[in-house]
């Protein structure tokens, strides 16, 4: 099985059990020392874990994830450190991992070396928010050589023909951005969100996960059925920021 197929399988299993959950955490936040401990806690209630590589210019992220990114960079968190730390603990982590990174840290690491190092670290896929499909060929090919997938993002503004291309070319799952905006915004999920997600789910043969603006059990219930799963980022990072136990927060998202 290729690495990206592990993501798909885990999400399909989660969907069959009432909806998959993909928590997002910024690597090494709030403390680099507790990265693996936090990851284990988060993974307890996760089908797939999305780990954020901090970047100095997170243009698609709101204040919460910006804050966590800048704090992690300050404490020396880098892509190299993340991959090395995950590799050290490879045996204890069963949950498929997806790395969310802006493109520049990946470029600086070097694509050739990155695929092998990521696979060794248990990374099954990448989400790269500033890499639109048209610019992604070199990265996709370099990762594909190791069975690692590039998850495509679609948005409510994506035209129909483009949606088909992105769903066809995505690996692991399709990331459906629920709102026209950045992560962690105060905006409510739009009224037409379930229609939009049902449409994406119809076009995509891969599981569709909804992300941006999902904060509560009520949000999760609203989207259940329209998408295979949900991604919860800023709300979880706020929990970590407060020093609270992510297990209780994530368990509550899953419990009716």
């Amino acid at each position: 099985m290729q690495a990206h197929e592990r993501i798909t399988e885990a999400l399909q299993r989660g969907a069959a059990e009432g909806g998959a959950l993909v928590p997002f955490m910024t690597a090494g936040y709030p403390e680099p020392d507790t990265f693996i401990e936090t990851l284990h806690a988060v993974a307890e209630h996760a089908d797939v874990v999305e780990i954020g590589v901090p970047f100095s210019d997170p243009m698609a992220d709101g204040m919460t994830i910006q804050r966590s990114s800048f704090a992690a960079i300050e404490k020396g968190v880098s892509l190299r450190w993340i991959l090395e730390t995950l590799t050290e603990h490879r045996e204890d982590i069963d949950t498929p991992l997806v790395l969310m990174s802006y493109l520049n840290p990946l470029l600086a690491y070097g694509y050739d070396e990155l695929g092998a190092a990521a696979l060794k670290a248990g990374v099954c896929g990448f989400i790269v928010p500033d890499l639109p499909f048209e610019e992604s060929a070199a990265f996709r090919e370099a990762m594909q050589a190791h069975g690692i997938g590039l998850v495509q993002l679609v948005t409510p503004a994506t035209p129909a023909d483009r949606l088909e291309t992105l769903c066809r070319e995505s690996r692991g799952f399709v990331y459906a951005v629920t709102i026209t905006g950045i992560t962690g915004g105060g905006a409510e999920l739009p009224a037409e969100v379930t229609d939009y997600l049902e449409n994406v789910s119809e076009v995509s043969s891969l599981p569709v996960c909804a992300g941006f603006g999902i904060r509560s059990r009520a949000d999760v219930e609203r989207l259940a059925g329209a998408a295979a799963g949900v991604i919860v980022g800023s709300a979880l990072v706020e929990v970590l920021e407060r020093g609270d136990d992510p297990r209780a927060f994530l368990a509550a998202l899953r419990t009716p």
Binding site: F55, S56, D57, M59, N104
Partner: protein, 418 residues
Amino acid sequence: MQAKPKEQDDAALLAALLAGELPDARGRFGAFGGRYVPETLVPALERLEAGVRDYLREPGFQEEFCHELFEWVGRPTALTPARGLSRAWGADVWLKREDLAHTGAHKINNAIGQALLAKRLGAKRVIAETGAGQHGVASAAACARIGLPCRVYMGAVDISRQAPNVDRMRRLGAEVVAVESGDKTLRAAIDEALRDWVSDPDGTYYLLGSAVGPHPYPYLVREMHRCIGDEARAQMLKQAGKLPDAVFACVGGGSNAIGLFHAFLGDPDVEIVGVEAGGIGSGLGQNAATLATGTPGVLQGSYTMILQDPNGQVQETQSVSAGLDYSGVGPEHAFLQSIGRVRYEAAGDADVLDALDEVCAEEGILTALETAHAFVGAREWARKNPGKTMLIGNSGRGDKDMSTLVQHPTTRARHAGA
């Protein structure tokens, strides 16, 4: 004879640029440029690209744009023989006077042009970022002229060092938003403007102020400023009777420089030099000399030269001039450097302050701190190349810099009666 493939490739790339074949369909100048943005912005940039294609060459739009440049901006700006500097440097020095344009810098060309484009594209509001405040003021003025609401994002650090411009923007009807995240300067302001645009890509027009960012901005902004070089080239031929031996401009994002340089790229005997901010030293974080000391990477939508650490984290910059204080640079400049057509060098803060005083004393022109970088490069060049004809892009006036300048009293002896 040994073949020199690199030189042949460079010549072919320059020819392609001059023939209008670059940026290519993917928004590339050779390896540089492109469109690295969140998916939400892809349809918005495609619409903008279509708008640029439909309107930029359309006679009705060109006519309206030229009218505004003539009647409201005050173009063409003068070409001034710099008699004092010519004497002092032993050269024949000419200044392209963008400081005489409305609002005090070249920025207004792009602001009014893009505001007209925003109107044609049916935008309901305009957003802009600003570093020194010049693009913010120009955008506020252009939006007042055209009748569009305008919001300007400005780093908190820049707000404190450019207070008069903040008040100007507000009086011109713009809403100024302080950006407290990231480095709190131009880069953070662009990030924040992009976040705003991501939240309303249909109704909002992002009036980007430099020749940076995702395609088609580097091309669009260059086209809005090409009048600088087109005018200067014709004026040199008419007033000096010849082309300059060398052309100089300061480079932050690089909009005034690309506007000036373009007209001379096809003149093989004209040497072209861009001068970046050398800040307080050559180490990472001590300057904003992106082309002189940076490495390739992706920042704010474009593959270009950037200042970054080995992990790909973009680094903060240091410069006495807020307008050059930027960790990236327009991709066309990265391209022109890569093919060897334009040389880029850095000028340090101390030399910049001295050059500013020299221009004041010799020419009676208070040039902007940004612009003074070009004079440092030109002065060095004149020392090595005596008796030559030189053109300097005097991109803006320094009135806005008075709060910085009072902290650096002039060291120059007084001229008159001495």
